[in-house]
Structures are given as C-alpha cells and as structure tokens.
C-alpha cells in the first residue's frame, strides 16, 4: 500500500534483474549472470529505499512471513500457515520449524518480533513505515507462533508482509546487513565487488534446496544501455529482465540466441508536480499541464510504442482499473488558455530528471509539448543521489518524472504534505483509509475506482504510462516472471538449460 517513491525511482533498476548461462565452463548450467541497471549503496532492504536491493535479495537471500507469486497471490513463506480472527484484527502465524539463518543461528518467533519492533521503532529508518502503520502489537505466543494485532482492518496486510521491507532478520547479524546480509533464503551472500557485481551462492541448508537449480547467481551492474546491449551480445550476461532501451529490442528479437519478453510492471510513470509550491498549488496549472502532454507521442518517442498509457495512478492490468486517459485529452489550445487564466503563461519551470532512460527521453518530448503550450520548461538531468536528497526528501523541485514501482501505492497520495508530492487532501486521505480497511474485494475495487477518478480529476500529476517490463534472456533461461506484481523476482525457480 504505501509505497516508497525512492524505490519506485529505481524502477528501471529493479526491473533489471535477470539470469543467464555462464560463459565459464566450470559453472556451466548452474551459474547465471543477471544484468542490473542500478547498483545500490547498501544491501539492507529494511533500511534503504533503492528498489534494486529488493530486486536482488528479497525472497532470495531474505525471506518474509509470506511471499507473492507472479499473479500477485499471497503464499506462505516463513509462516507455514495463519489464521485471522473474526473481526479481522488479529493474525496468528504458525512459523516454519527448523529454518535457520545463513550464519547458523536458528529462526524462531523472537526473530519475527525483533524484525517488526525494529521497523516500527521511533528511530527506524525503514523506507516503508506505512506498511507497519496499522500494526498495534506483535506478540510471541511460543517459539513457533506469533500473533499480530492490528489497530484497523488492513486489506493488504498479508500482501504487504511479503515485501522486502518486512524481511525477517536476526538480532545477531542485523547490524552488518548493509554490507554482509544474513537471511534465511535459498541463496546466501558470497561477495560484492562495488561497481562491478554482487554474487550469491545456493544455501545448501535451505528447506527447498533440492528444487533450486542455480548454484551461483551473479548480478552484474551495467548502467549504460549501449554497454548492456554489448554485454548481452558478447554472451557475458544471461538475462537482463529490466532492459532499459526499447529501441534495441528488434535486434534481440531477430537473434535466435535470445528471447525477448514484454510484460508489465507496477510502475506508474508520472510527471510529478510539486503540489505544495506555486504555481502547481493551482489546479488550473496542473490541468493545463495535463492537457499539454500528449501520451501517444511520449510513448511512441520515448518507449518506441512499448507502453500502455494511464490516466490515473493505477496499473491497467489491475482488477480495479478504470480508463481515465480521456479526462484531460491532449489539447494545446486549452492548455494555453488555462495557463493564461492562471497567469503563468510564458514563465519558466524546471523539470528535474533522474538518470533513467524512460525519464530523460520523456523529458525532452514533454519539454517540446509544454513549449507549444507557452511554457518554457528547463530540463535538468540529475544524479540519483541528488534526486533522492533534493526532490524526494527536500521537495526542492517544480516537476520531475519518475516511475512508482511499488504495488498498491495509491496510498502515496495520503502521505501528507511532507511526501514529495506536496499533496494534502483530506477527502482523498479519508477515501484511502476506507480502501485500506475494506476487506471485501468487490467493494474495495469500487473504492479504488473512485480513488482513481479523484486523483485524475484533481490532476495531481501528469499521468503518463505504465512502465513495461522488457526482458532479454538467453535462449534456455527459464523461470523469470514476465510481469512483476512486486519489486522482487524469486530465483529459486529459475533454471538455465
């Protein structure tokens, strides 16, 4: 539910997880080299918002109480089973027996309580504290049972418990997790050569070790699209699940050594506007921007047609999706009139863009479209660290372009004026609280549809398109998800033939 922008920003990076055949003979068939666009600065998913951490480690090195499959259905993980009380407020988890951490320490209910208490603490640096907000208390019933009490009903609770932010960590090893992560998963940490690669090896003590095909997983960090393409063609990489350059796909499609998979992600790409700041606190300006942008041109020019337009903040493949792309149809004259009415025609606005191809390319097109509507948009390409500091944390921007890859992230708009949207609307916050507390699927979907319309009507941001999942795999690599309902990609089911 409440997703982090930070990690969303790294959408492309998270997408970039993949697997492939190793070119080195000794490991052939059991080693995979996965290309990844962004390298994180820490390896602790419970302390850092960078999406590539979840992409590599969640449900691979770390495990959570639950997990999620490709369709987004919740499955048991460290919790073997659970029961929910009549009122929907008390969850009792039966934990797995005999699971161990990679350093040999045992897993039990105390570790679960420790992990939750740490994330919920006042001074916690957990990047998705919103996931823990509905939790009242975590109680150890016995070594194999944990009881979690909620303050309010939370329809997404079990789904949220699968995310990397809720990874179960051990008090003995947690301090070193940023550089030497220790979890309970099917793969364990081997080495991290900064600027080059992260290596995981199979955990032979894992309960499902017998069904894990890969012995060794190398995540190779390649940020440049041209270099990524060259590495794939040279056979150095087996899989690139978040391939950043759609224009290069025809080349791989034509090559029998590769297979190209186009799926969807949870990443809504938005032209974010700083609602707390003039002139974007004026709805007419936001509407004018929405009228000025032409999604068809952006998708064609920036994504080579490989994306689905969105009119609000909800993925088109979701069950509650409403097509709102017609709310503010592309109409330069109308945009011009609205800009003039609001008294901002002819002014300069800055568009600060993070270093992801979908963003930098869209920026150039949006700049031209705003120019047609009489607004001089100045594009500033900034580094990811700068983006996190200045835009995400300090709200120091007019407009930016970013993909929000977290699932169920419409709660972002209820995060208050301190969140980088600068959006604070009591009506929406109330609506979101009702969505979170609604347990009935049909009723919740109806509310979600209402929320989509609410955001579209308010023109909170320019809603652009749903980020596609473009994967390039060597022939013979199996088991990667075509689409991503979550930030992670379990590698236990991946094989190289």
């Amino acid at each position: 539910m409440s997703s982090k922008l930070a990690r969303s920003g790294v959408a492309i990076a998270a997408l970039a997880l993949c697997a492939a055949l190793s070119p080195t003979g000794g490991w052939a068939g059991t080693t995979i080299v996965i290309g990844l666009q962004q390298e994180p600065t820490s390896l602790d998913p419970t302390a850092d918002a960078t999406a590539s951490i979840d992409g590599m480690l969640t449900q691979n090195l770390f495990e959570s109480l639950t997990t999620v499959n490709e369709a987004g259905e919740v499955l048991p993980q460290l919790a073997e089973s659970w029961t929910v009380s009549e009122d929907g407020l008390t969850y009792t988890f039966d934990l797995l027996d005999g699971a161990t951490f990679h350093d040999g320490t045992g897993f039990d209910a105390e570790d679960v309580k420790f992990s939750f208490d740490r994330a919920m603490a006042e001074d916690s640096v957990n990047p998705s504290k919103g996931l823990f907000k509905p939790i009242e208390s975590v109680t150890v019933v016995d070594a194999g049972t944990v009881e979690i009490k909620l303050k309010q009903k939370d329809a997404f609770f079990l789904f949220n418990m699968a995310q990397g932010d809720v990874s179960i960590v051990a008090p003995e090893s947690v301090e070193a997790n940023n550089a030497n992560p220790v979890g309970t998963g099917p793969f364990k940490y081997d080495s991290w050569t900064r600027g080059d690669k992260l290596v995981l090896v199979k955990n032979p003590d894992h309960r499902d070790a017998g069904s894990v095909a890969l012995e060794r997983v190398e995540f190779k960090f390649i940020s440049d699209a041209a270099a990524a393409s060259a590495a794939l063609l040279a056979g150095e990489i087996d899989a690139f699940p978040g391939f950043p350059a759609p224009e290069l796909l025809p080349q791989f499609e034509a090559d029998p050594r590769f297979k190209v998979v186009t799926g969807s992600t949870e990443g809504e790409v938005i032209l974010a506007m700083n609602n707390a700041k003039a002139p974007f606190n004026d709805i007419r300006v936001r509407q004018a921007v929405s009228h000025a942008i032409d999604r068809g041109e952006i998708i064609d020019g920036a994504m080579y047609g490989q994306a689905v337009p969105i009119g609000s903040f909800y993925p088109p493949h979701g069950p509650a999706y409403v097509d709102l792309t017609g709310t503010y149809p592309h109409d330069t004259a109308k945009a011009k009139a609205l800009f003039e009415e609001a008294g901002v025609a002819g002014t300069t606005m800055t568009l600060r863009v993070p270093p992801f191809p979908y963003a930098t390319r869209s920026a150039e097109i949006i700049q031209a479209q705003l120019a047609e509507a009489g607004i001089d948009a100045k594009v500033e390409n900034v580094e990811w660290g700068f983006w996190i500091d200045e835009i995400y944390k300090k709200l120091n921007y007019d407009m930016t372009i970013i993909a929000h890859t977290s699932p169920n992230d419409m709660g972002n708009f209820a995060r208050g004026p301190k969140y980088f949207y600068g959006y604070d609307d009591a009506g929406y916050t109330d609506l979101w609280n009702r969505i979170s507390a609604e347990a009935d699927d049909a009723a919740r979907n109806a509310l979600l549809a209402e929320a989509q319309k609410y955001l579209a009507d308010q023109a909170v941001h320019g809603f652009l398109f749903q980020l596609p999942q473009l994967g390039v795999y060597k022939t013979g690599v199996e088991g990667f998800w075509d689409s991503r309902a979550v930030l992670f990609q379990p590698l236990a089911g991946v094989s190289v033939n």
């Binding site: 224009e247 020019g301 150039e364 097109i365 700049q367 031209a368 120019a371 500033e380 390409n381």
Partner: protein, 272 residues
Amino acid sequence: MTRLPPNLIIGAVLVALVAGTAALSLVWTPHDHTLLNIRGKFAPPSELHWLGTDQLGRDVFSQLMVAARNSVAVALISVCLGGVIGVALGLLASAMGGVVEDVIMRIADIGFAFPALLFAIMLAAVFGPSLMVAIIAIAFINIPVFARVTRASANQIWTREYVYAARAAGMGRVTISRDHVLPNIAAPIIVQATIEFAIAILAEAALSYLGLGAQPPAPSWGRMLSEAQTLMYLAPQLAIYPGLCIVTAVLGFSLLGDGLRDITDPRLVRQR
C-alpha cells in the same frame, strides 16, 4: 610569393564550410531544429528532410547546422578566453623573469597536468552541467598552453637589439611587451590558437557526449552522437552524420593551423 601549401588551402576550405554553416544557421535552417514530429521519426533523406529525421522526428540537417554554431561558439569563446589570460601570463613571465617567471611557469605546468575532463566534471558537480561549464573547462586547459608558447617566443624577442635599445631609451617593461614583443610573437600565437580551436571542438564534443556540455534541446554533435549510440542497429546514419561533422571541423582547423605555421615559421620557409 611562394605557392600556398595545400594543407592551408584544404584547411581553409573546411573551416570556411563549418564557419559558414554556423553563421548561416543564425538566419536560416531548413526546419526548426527543435520541432518534434514523432510519427515521422527515422525518415530517410528526402527533399523535405535532406538528411532524414532522428528518433524524435527532428530534422537532422537543421540540428547539425545549429550544432555547428554551438561548437564554433564554444571553441571561439573558450580559446579567446584562455588565450588572452595565457598570453598575458606568458608576457608577464617573460618580462619580469626571475621568481615571477618561475612561479607562473610552474603553475602552468600544474595546469598542464590537470585533465580538462576532470575539471569539467568538478565544475558540473558544483554548478550543474551547462554549456558554460564546457566553455570554462576548455578555456582553463588553454591557459597554460598559451602561457608557455608566449613565454618561449617572448624570451627570444627580449634578447634582440631593438629591445635593448628601447630599454636604454627608458621604456618600461609593459610598454616594450606591448609595442615590441607582442607584435613579433603574434604569428606563433595565431598558429597555436588555430590548433587549439580544433582541440576545443573535440573537447566540446566529448563533454557534450558525457552530458556535461550542451543541454537538451540545444543540439550538439557530441550529444547527438551519444543519443545515436543505442540506435546503431535501427539508424546508424544518426551516429555517422555528427561524427563526420566533428571530423570535418577538427581536420579543418588542424590543417589550417599546420598551413599557417608552414608559411609563418621562418625556419620552415627557408627550407622550402
């Protein structure tokens, strides 16, 4: 008058072509270089678009023309800026001699050791990337070059009899530098400036390629090259055109510089 060396003629023609294109772009381009037409992207060369269109449907020929203007402007400003400061420092070093000369030339040596790219990255980190960053960085690397050439040439002039005579007549060092030294070392400085022009164009292309120079939508050969990189499979011509432009400009200025040296360097003239 001996016949002009061929490298001078070829160089002058190429430079005239680039400079002429740059000047023409101020008043006329076939299309608005920023005009997008995404449905008409990757168009082949036609009567309408002489070199076709790029990945956003912009006219490539117009972009190359405006980029030529950017390149020439950056090179001109940065070489002049670096040249004026460098020549002044060189003259000062030569005129003062002793400790002043040693200090200035050692600082110039340090400047030589400092890579322009690193300097540009540092500036870009502080002020944000812009064309100004590229200009300052290129000007900076030009200062020690001109200081060294000026001082070496000026030191020879200071030993001439007419300079001794001027000093005996009571002329000050500044006056002598201005009236006697500078006019007599103008030739090597102009030759050096022409060669530095070629280097500056290359440096601007490199900085823009790395995103430290011209920012979108301002076109630049270097940036066009970097944008074309992932399009090599779809549209290789988008990398070839700006590449050829850079070659033409750099080759032109290098040949022109060589040619100018051939006709102005007395030793070379005597050999011929």
